[in-house]
């Protein structure tokens, strides 16, 4: 039981560790996985780029019961964050009590342990978001 096979997991590390992806040079649309053609405007000129390290939390849910892979981590917060360029990213929001969360609050990217995959002896790291003390 492992949602992503290890080679695939390894290949996704750019986005997972550094929010690194592929930006369309024509319309600016950001893709988190490789593209030959922009899914928004159809342009073929795409370069590697990174998203900003801060953004605003636009929506979130407190997950209280999850699939088996994540059940041991409940409750945890899944948020939708609008990065500086307007791209939306899904990730967990950490380092705060869910009660303190509010929409439109500023958050920043932090590298964290996402889960431990006992079966494959793998510790999954990736980005999470944490509130910025304003």
């Amino acid at each position: 039981m492992f949602v992503i096979r290890i080679p695939r997991y390894w290949r996704s590390k750019g986005f997972r560790y550094r929010l690194e992806g592929y930006r369309c040079e024509k319309c600016g649309h950001f893709h988190h996985s490789p593209r030959l053609v922009c899914r928004k405007c159809g342009s073929r000129s795409i370069r590697r780029d990174r998203l900003s390290q801060t953004g605003r939390l636009i929506s979130y849910t407190v997950v209280k019961s999850s699939t088996p892979l994540f059940e041991q981590y409940v409750p945890y917060v899944v948020g939708v964050v609008k990065m500086v360029d307007g791209s939306l990213v899904v990730g967990q929001v950490t380092d705060c009590d869910p009660e303190e969360l509010r929409e439109d609050m500023q958050v920043e990217v932090t590298l964290r342990k996402i889960r431990v995959d006992g079966e494959n002896k793998l510790i999954q790291y990736g980005y999470k978001f944490r509130p910025v003390i304003e």
Binding site: V63, S65, Y73, V78, Q92
Partner: protein, 397 residues
């Protein structure tokens, strides 16, 4: 669908349907379920075994749950339908509707005269852990699921957005679940044949705020089947053919949050528009619908995106009882995915089966108005991003 093509396609009728009970069917294999539904549909249509040209089987998880692939081949063998062409269709939880679409295309194009379409899934024999994990793989692995963004959490985000933008309350969502349970009580094929109260739903276990356990579908086994032939030949088998008048199929971004407007299921809109255009109808022409309520909030969203209600007003229709069995536009008379159950690959075919029964006036206790002439089915292959819409019409002498 190009208008020029429409004129050359043959019209296609459903001439027989059948399904197994949905639920936790411990002593039955996937093949048992597919065979039972098929045989029932064959009896219903009064067709012989040697007549079939093609068999399409919609299935999503057979390779994981039963460690079986080439499922359609096995079914043709099991039913002795040789030499009918066998093909398994995998399209996530829309595998069933995709199988119907394939069957339609085969008959409409003239490639086949008699087609068996079956959708089936065996889910309860696998441990829940592995199963839920596998189903979750239809979300985006790197952008969603790796972060613990489960299907339920996506539905929760959509529900929240609806609450904030359109004034939908948790009660509205609970009312959809209560209605579908009530309908399922009248459906002998349904998995959850138990009435639930609003209070019970509102107090059920929180899964992902504001989504509770009672606002999501169960894990079920089951299969459903339909037999298709050219409309001009349907009279040989039945005096109550139901025509497949329109088909639409469209895809949107895989991740919910990146869509142009996450509150709009664009693939659902496009698919419905295509189907209406092909059928020469508007949403007003529909008398009954089976929608994909894997989560109860989805029934409200889809009822708007297929054009029944204005955006942001689907919940008002629920409140006013419009979508009840005796309402102006009954939705999910079968109990829907919520209470009939959701054996993933079976669902799209089961929706068609329910519409056929309703349009033939054979739905028993849950029969809607006998004057109902047209039904619409909407089946998702992901979280609202791969949508098939079918429009069926009763042909009356």
């Amino acid at each position: 669908m190009q208008e020029a093509i429409l004129g050359v396609l043959r019209r296609v009728a459903v001439i027989g349907v059948g399904m197994t009970r949905f639920g936790k069917l411990e002593d039955r294999s996937l093949m048992d379920l597919l065979a039972e539904a098929s045989i029932k549909a064959m009896k219903d249509a009064g067709v012989d075994y040697e007549e079939f040209d093609s068999v399409y089987v919609g299935n999503m998880l057979g390779s994981v749950v039963e460690r079986q692939t080439a499922i359609a081949t096995a079914l043709v063998d099991r039913l002795s339908l040789f030499p009918a062409a066998a093909e398994t269709v995998e399209n996530g939880p829309a595998a069933g509707a995709s199988a119907v679409k394939n069957g339609f295309q085969a008959v409409a194009s003239g490639l086949a005269d008699l087609v068996l379409v079956v959708g089936g899934e065996k889910m309860t024999s696998l441990d829940t852990a592995t199963l839920t994990d596998y189903i979750a793989t239809m979300t985006h692995p790197e952008a969603e699921y790796m972060h613990g963004a489960t299907l339920a959490s996506l539905a929760a985000l959509l529900m929240k957005l609806y609450e904030q933008r359109y004034g939908v309350t948790e009660e509205h969502v609970a009312m959809v679940a209560v209605k579908n349970h009530r309908n399922a009580l009248k459906n002998p094929y349904a998995h959850l044949r138990r009435e639930i109260t609003l209070e019970e739903a509102l107090q059920s276990k929180m899964v992902a705020e504001p989504l509770r356990m009672y606002y999501s579908c169960p894990i079920s086994d089951g299969a459903a089947a339909a037999i298709l032939c050219p409309l001009e030949k349907a009279g040989k088998y039945t005096d109550k053919p139901v025509e497949i008048k329109g088909i639409g199929h469209a895809t949107d971004y895989q991740t919910l949050h990146e869509r142009e407007d996450p509150a709009v299921l664009k693939s659902c809109k496009y698919a419905a528009e295509q189907a209406y255009r092909m059928a020469g109808l508007s949403p007003k022409g529909i008398d009954v619908a089976e929608l994909h309520d894997a989560f109860s909030i989805l029934e409200i969203v889809e009822s708007e995106d297929v054009g029944f209600f204005k955006k942001g007003q689907g919940h008002l229709a629920v409140e006013q009882g419009v979508t009840e069995l005796d309402g102006v536009l009954p939705i999910n008379p079968s109990g829907g995915l919520k209470a009939r159950g959701h054996p993933v690959g079976a669902t799209g075919v089961a929706q068609v089966v329910e519409l056929v029964w309703q349009l033939r006036g054979e739905a028993g206790e849950r029969q809607i108005s006998k004057n109902a002439k047209r039904g619409l089915a909407c089946n998702f292959g992901g979280f609202g991003n791969n949508t098939l819409v079918h429009i069926l019409e009763a042909i009356r002498k």
